[in-house]
């Protein structure tokens, strides 16, 4: 009863309400030890991050659902975040976890990031049912928990994609097995996600309703004292994106397709031409809901500690199985070296499109119908623009330093140089137009803490 009430409040209430609820439990919680000693425990994390963007045309984003990008000048929108977590050990093997998160880039609107019941079935097996953090890539569950992450932000070229999928509403199963000193964990997960995908090139910025259905995956990780390796593969049954503008586009495509079929039905038309028009109509009809896809996500990543050295790397493959959104290969490599409380680091990341741009050649004028042809030209323009804005290829080079200045507190200073392959490829920038000045320099100062 109490659990349901808490989840409801996080989903619908304000952060203030959340805080007041948590303050009651804070009196019960005492320290950071595990639940059996503290049946109800409050904890939290926050990042106060300020980023300077030198580019007047390109906003920096954490994910494509971000309401307010970090535009030119100083902004807190890229990294600033606050999170509160309540852990409640109901029974020795049963616990309830709720985590609310508020991001500056989302006007600090509270969102439920985790809300699940965890049941431990044996020493090696546990199940979580409810809302869990996204397991798509190596660091996708930790990307917004600054203190737990080496850098000020996860590499933007690779991580904006998984950052869109902040959670799964479903369940996961975790099975652990130890061989020697290596701990293996097999995680199977299933769920759905929905979010607002923002099309920054429309004015006003269009909020589309995006939905990922039947997200199912498996991840296997192997952890030794100094190295963790994780391989994951995730499939989906459907990704859909809906908005009034997309409906308008669909209506236009449907009308043109119907017009071509009507022309093809003209008995005076040569058979070859009629057949060609029918094929064209079919192809144009296939452009309906062009953002819809069936993405798969694959990731192979590692995190290694060798004395003072820290090495993180990952290879990723995103295949949307859709002509517009395409297929991408990405990687990042980061190296840090700790000198007392300071860890300077460098990082390089890249994501590149591996499939051709969408072919819109079926939207060719017929020279048969003067009323239909202008509509075809207009639709081709709209689809070509969508295809151009869909290319998320980009790279980043970053240098920074992390200073663990106090217990539970770290200060990071980071410089990122982000760029796309050319000025007509938008990458993961919030843009209103193309071409644009495709190099963005970000300077970030971020204070992370946990409690």
């Amino acid at each position: 009863m109490q659990t349901t009430s808490l989840l409801d409040r996080i989903q619908t209430g304000s952060l203030g309400l959340l805080l007041s609820m948590f303050s009651m439990s804070a009196a019960i919680a005492s320290d950071a030890s595990e639940p059996p000693l503290n049946p109800i425990k409050l904890s939290g994390f926050a990042t106060l991050g300020l980023t300077h963007n030198d580019n007047s045309e390109a906003g920096a984003i954490f994910s494509s659902s971000q309401k307010k990008p970090a535009n030119q000048g100083w902004s807190a929108n890229l990294d600033s975040v606050a999170g509160l977590q309540l852990d409640w050990q109901l029974l020795p093997d049963t616990s309830v976890v709720a985590q609310g998160v508020a991001r500056a880039g989302e006007d600090f609107d509270p969102q439920l990031r985790m809300g699940y019941v965890r049941q431990q079935f044996s020493n090696n097996t546990a199940v979580r049912v409810g809302r869990i953090r996204s397991p798509l890539f190596f660091d996708s569950d930790v990307a917004e928990i600054g203190y737990a992450y080496l850098m000020a932000h996860a590499p933007i070229p690779v991580y904006v994609t998984p950052n869109i999928v902040t959670h799964l509403d479903g369940a996961d199963l975790q099975w652990r097995h130890v061989v020697g000193n290596t701990a293996f964990m097999l995680q199977g997960y299933y769920g759905n996600d929905s979010y607002k995908h923002r099309l920054y090139n429309t004015s006003p910025v269009e909020e589309t309703d995006a939905e990922l259905r039947d997200i199912a995956g498996i991840a296997i990780s192997a952890a030794t004292p100094n190295l963790t390796v994780r391989l994951s593969h995730t499939t989906t049954s459907a990704y859909t994106m809906r908005s009034p503008q997309i409906s308008q586009l669909n209506a236009g495509l449907s009308q043109v397709s119907a017009g071509l079929n009507a022309m093809a039905a003209n008995p005076y038309l040569p058979a070859s031409m009629a057949s060609s028009l029918t094929a064209q109509a079919r192809q144009i009809s296939g452009y309906t809901n062009p953002f819809d896809a069936k993405p798969t996500y694959t990731s192979l990543g590692f995190d290694a500690n060798m004395d003072a050295w820290r090495l993180l790397g990952e290879w990723t493959l995103l295949d949307t199985h859709a002509a517009l959104t395409g297929k991408y290969e990405g990687y990042h490599l980061s190296v840090g070296y700790s000198i007392d409380a300071f860890t300077p680091y460098v990082s390089f990341a890249r994501q590149i499109r591996k499939s051709a741009a969408m072919d819109t050649s079926a939207l060719a004028v017929t020279n048969l119908d003067p009323t239909l042809d202008p509509a075809i030209v207009q639709l081709k323009g709209a689809l070509d623009q969508a295809a151009q804005f869909a290319d998320i290829s980009m790279s980043s080079a970053s240098i920074g330093v992390r200073w663990d200045l106090r217990e539970n507190m770290a200060l990071k200073v980071q410089y990122d140089r982000l760029e796309t392959p050319n000025s007509s490829i938008p990458g993961y920038f919030a843009l209103t137009h193309l071409p644009f000045n495709n190099t963005v320099n970000l300077f970030t100062v971020a204070l992370d803490f946990v409690f």
Partner: protein
């Protein structure tokens, strides 16, 4: 007077050095092993290894933040700084993957809890490890 003051200071220094060199990993006497390697100790306190070879749960007992023994244990045995350790547990806790070990206020409390809890493992300074617990790893021998 001055002489005895310096002797006292020297004694404190020597004790501190000795204590820092002699953290030992202890376990409840029922633990099914007599010795573990530093890597195993590291995996146990990071909760990557959660069961003894006989299948029984391992109950690691940590010392509260701020204890020099804690810093020494993690630096010597696991090779991690306390900052790295906190970062590791922040990741585990806020992604729903686990919690840090139970904590005791002092190393005396650790010894007591380990003695009383089947499956428990902890670390104390060597002087506090009496016959009521098993010594599984001696950092002095590392």
């Amino acid at each position: 007077m001055k002489f005895s003051y310096f002797v006292l200071l020297g004694a404190v220094f020597v004790t501190s050095v000795q204590a820092q060199g002699q953290v030992v990993v202890i376990a409840n006497r029922q633990a099914p092993v007599d010795k573990i390697e530093p890597d195993q100790a590291s995996q146990i306190f990071l909760k990557q290894i959660q069961t003894w070879p006989n299948g029984r749960s391992i109950e690691p007992i940590d010392i509260k933040e701020g204890s020099p023994l804690r810093a020494e244990f993690y630096s010597k045995i696991t090779g991690r700084s306390l900052g790295q350790l906190r970062s590791y547990w922040a990741r585990q806790a806020f992604t729903g993957m686990g919690f840090p070990p139970k904590q005791a206020a002092t190393s005396e409390d650790v010894a007591k809890l380990v003695q009383l809890t089947p499956g428990a493992i902890g670390y104390v300074s060597k002087q506090q490890a009496d016959g009521s617990v098993k010594i599984l790893l001696d950092s002095g021998g590392k």
